[in-house]
Symmetry: C2
Subunit: 627 residues, 2 copies
């Protein structure tokens, strides 16, 4: 495709009809939306929206509470777009009424800075004020799109207009750019939704100004890297600082590069992507190696037990990838989005739908956690929790999961000119407008558990279907109407250009092998080790499947020795890998001369996203490789 010509196909034009994501969407619709709402009620988040809190009352609003709620509204709205639901809408309408009540005449709207510190408005860069505004805008657009109700959108627009005046026109705030990015991508969305140039200009003002203003400070404990303000954005070539902030920023930068067809910014985005996937990303698509600042660290620093890998960061990584594939066709963007979504993002959600991980480590050792928990507070290290919980004090991830799964159709297709790109495979129908032509495609697949994908065209016409061949796929066939066709991939896509008739069927068969993956020798933690993948899924071992085995002592053989079984794990059918592996017999000494003696065990691996659904136990993704 020609650079900058990509167009998104939004989830509004995609109907998930079955397969992997249908089950997840049903779970979220049935359980998660209500569970998160209930927790937000109980913890005072919903109530605080009216800015009616007074000293002495319970539930003093926190600076980012309202973003939790507006992000929940966005997620709920993504589901309402498919199925209206009066009860759910009533819950949202009450929240919107509270916002209306809390909004100032001049448009200002922030529960914390209205109820708790009104004198501090627009004075503290670090306090998430513009981040909350961004989520308000995104929630408002989603709710209007889903229901046609404009009240929340009008509220958001009034506030956006105030922010535009204060920041872009008058420079009357005490700082120039958001400490926690998010509003930039929200403003591009608002620009696209309303057509109002000023939102684009404000977003671009924030991006252009970032890293150039002496008025833009950081936390007392942190550095400017923490909020990506150490350099002008066009000079940022490595992923630094708070990983969620970074990836929301990079997403907005990609929006701008696309909109303005700006090579310099597009190159920056490309460099950032390369830095992430070649140096700073876990094999689960997790990013942000350290809890210190919830941040990226340095090249090849990928510790396992302390991997932070915030759920939101991998959601934001998928956002970034989805924008990059509009700038330039490269299958690696969808590879990366799938890695993030199928592994770290889904690890954030329990199979029961009502419990969440904020952090998604690559290994856990319950002994370390138990010791740590037993220590006095002042002697503890920060460790990820072992089991998901119902709510966090910082509860951005649960509503982010709702919107990520609600809008999963966003990742299915893009198009450019006359070509439809099949980016991430899923069982869904889509209706795509290519210029004047309407194209309807029905995709049926059990992906990511199976590599067979059938796409039926429901409309006639000349256009190209570009099938992504994922990087993990070494062998595949393409059949059209039962006939195998030669199918060489270009930049990772097989281009099927023809005159389609309604009822034509493309079958893509990707051989989905078990693979043993090694990490770069520069990653100290991964030397001598291997991880199992199959398709876009990363697998892990849990102690509950191998009682009495020290998981870290397991030596694995070659990939071909492991069979794929379909089994039930914590009540859900999924592929499980099974095969022989080896551990050392136990001994009592702490140190002894090496003996090359091993006993055979049956290694059992489950998809990483399903870990921690069967009680606390050891878990690991990487294994010793017999060499």
């Amino acid at each position: 495709m020609e650079k900058y010509t990509g167009k998104p196909v939004g989830f509004g034009d995609v109907e998930v009809t079955g397969g992997f994501w249908k089950k997840k969407q049903e779970l979220v619709e049935r359980v998660t939306i209500g569970a998160v709402f209930k927790r937000f009620e109980e913890t005072g988040r919903n109530g605080c929206l009216d800015a009616g809190w007074k000293e002495g009352m319970p539930f003093r609003p926190h600076i980012f509470w309202e973003s939790d709620v507006t992000k929940w509204i966005e997620g709920a709205a993504d589901f309402l777009r498919k199925h209206r639901d009066a009860a759910l809408e009533e819950q949202i309408d009450i929240l919107v009424d509270r916002m209306e009540k809390a909004q100032d005449e001049n448009g200002y709207l922030n529960a914390y800075f209205t109820a708790v510190e009104p004198e501090a408005r627009f004075t503290r860069r670090t306090d998430h004020e513009l981040y909350c505004a961004g989520h308000l805008i995104e929630g408002a657009i989603a709710y209007c799109e889903a229901t046609g109700k404009r009240k929340m959108l009008d509220i958001a627009i009034r506030y956006a207009d105030l922010i535009d005046r204060v920041f872009r026109i008058e420079h009357s705030a005490s700082f120039d750019t958001p400490g926690h990015e998010e509003i930039e991508l929200a403003l591009f969305k608002l620009y696209r939704y309303t057509g109002e140039e000023r939102y684009r200009m404000l977003a671009e003002y924030f991006l252009d100004t970032r890293g150039t203003s002496e008025r833009d400070g950081t936390y007392s404990f942190a550095d400017l890297e923490h909020m990506q303000s150490h350099l002008p954005v066009r000079r940022q070539r490595t992923a630094e600082g708070h990983s969620v902030r970074a990836l929301y920023l990079y997403s907005a930068m990609a929006d701008m590069a696309l909109l303005e067809k700006e090579d310099e910014l597009a190159d920056v985005c490309s460099d950032l992507f390369e830095n992430i996937v070649n140096r700073r990303m876990y094999i689960t698509g997790g990013v942000g190696s350290t809890h210190r600042g919830e941040s990226f660290s340095y090249d090849y620093d990928l510790p396992e037990y302390t991997a932070y890998n915030e759920t939101c960061a991998s959601i934001a990584l998928a956002f970034f990838c989805r924008r990059l594939w509009l700038i330039r066709a490269d299958r690696r963007y969808a590879d990366c989005a799938e890695l993030a979504l199928y592994n770290t993002v889904l690890s954030g959600l329990s199979l029961s739908g009502d419990e969440f991980f904020y952090e998604n480590p690559l290994a856990v050792d319950p002994r370390r956690t138990a010791f740590n928990d037993s220590r006095a507070q002042g002697l503890r290290e920060h460790l990820p929790i072992l089991q998901r919980v119902k709510v966090f004090s910082c509860s951005c991830c649960p509503p982010n999961l709702i919107r990520a799964i609600g809008a999963i159709g966003d990742y299915m297709y893009s198009f450019s000119g006359n070509t439809v790109y099949a980016q991430c495979y899923m069982n869904a129908d889509a209706e795509i407008t290519l210029g004047a032509r309407r194209v309807v495609l029905r995709q049926r697949t059990e992906y990511p558990y199976d590599g067979n994908v059938r796409i039926r065209t429901e409309t006639d016409g000349d256009y190209t279907v570009a099938l992504r061949i994922p990087s993990w796929c070494d062998a595949y066939t393409v059949h059209i109407n039962g006939e195998e066709i030669p199918a060489e991939a270009e930049e990772g896509y097989v281009l099927l250009a023809r005159t389609w008739s309604a009822g034509d069927e493309v079958v893509l068969d990707m051989v989905m092998e078990v693979k043993l993956i090694e990490g770069n020798p520069q990653v100290p933690d991964l030397c001598g080790r291997a991880a199992f993948t199959r398709g876009p899924l990363t697998f892990c071992a849990e102690g509950v499947d191998m009682p009495g085995v020290q998981l870290r002592d397991i030596r694995v053989g070659n990939a071909g020795e492991y069979a794929v079984l379909e089994e039930t794990v914590a009540g859900e059918r999924m592929p499980v890998l099974e095969g022989k592996a080896y551990v050392r017999p136990e001994f009592t000494e702490l140190y002894r001369p090496c003996r090359e003696s091993y006993r055979e065990i049956t290694l059992r691996l489950i998809p990483y996203h399903a870990w921690a659904n069967r009680g606390e136990c050891e878990m690991t993704v990487w294994f010793l490789k017999k060499s």
Copy 2:
């Protein structure tokens, strides 16, 4: 030997005449004693002893400063015992005069609590008051022993008597036992030196009371385990809390078990030793896995990069071992003392003699350190430094090294009845009084670099020489006057009972092989890895010897493939191991399917104690083992 019949042979009766320790003693005498004194002058530690500090003056005394100085006095005195030195004695006499000036009429002596907070005397368990008293006592005994000058001893005795009255008789302090143990073993020493029962009673009072008093608190950030006060000492069966405090305590407990022939306490000491060596000790004899509380952690927790392994803790571990071998003959006590002394303790001192490590990690990665140093203070992790420094704000280790090396002869022999136990081999002459008999033994050896030990008797008589066969030694021969004799070891000792004549020569030849050691499968960090040892020495690799090689990616072969070379490292002759090893060729991807492709390199290993003398670079002790 019969339990509880062991007697120490002190370094006063041992003259190091050559070999490994002679060089170290000469270095300390020539460089370290003066270097530490100079730093203590510059940092105000020496000056503060007169308790003349007033608000507004520089060098506000710190609660543990004076212990640094009295420990330095002890170390310097250990050398004066061998060679009187008027200039050095003058330096000490000035310090003693300051103490005399600072001492209260009632005997109280503490620079901090006299100059800074006189009203807080004997009220704060956590503030090292009794710890300072312990080091005062030890320093005073050593200086009196070396020079016959009693002034410091009299000062210490006056203070000890006050402490006895306040704590044991009147219970008039605000707490009952020391927060930082040390005085207990010092009081046993004072009891042995003066014969005064009250010092033994006070030491035993502190031990018996520990963990039983509700008046004994801890730091606000810590737990009672931190200062071994969570249980009465006889119920402490695992090594917990601050590792130096713990091992000073356990040493005093062993003193008491021996003195009182108390089985319960002896069993506790034995359990603690087993817990340490079988669960909580690094292969370098380092203990205290975590910087959090400078403490022991939990069984099998032996992280490499963050290993704390304070130099003082390994010195204290050697103290404990030396006491245990008096209770019961078991070669493992001397094995452990050697491991600690030859690896972690000596790692604490630069080959130049004037720089020190407080922490002794098992691996360092300069990339991690550089990133960490680049971060804002609030985002940093605690990491060991990469190069030794001249002084620490908490500078216990440098003077502790002086006294450990000055008194190294303490570890050479013990005796019981008619048997002399050769515990740790060194090139030295000793004079031992077995009942009415004087025995003189001349030992010549290049141990630990060579396994040949020659012992010549200089006195006639019937007695037994018990030669320790270290656990690492699989093959050895014993010759007496050139004739090989059958030499079965019992509990690790070959007992040579005969009528000796002056001039008889025993030659013990221990085959000192390169060994590859594995760690227990329960240690996550050591699975799949191996470390090199030879004799009591642990070896390590440094990046400077293998430019361009990722040390963590090195796969090692079998022990037999590594040759021992005598080479010069940072100006000093020492054994270096060399042989083939394998690393993966570099590649650019972060992850890729495993390829079993390796390139050969020459692995070069130096003794661990000599690391970090050639500039900052990667270091590691454990290697991947080809399996």
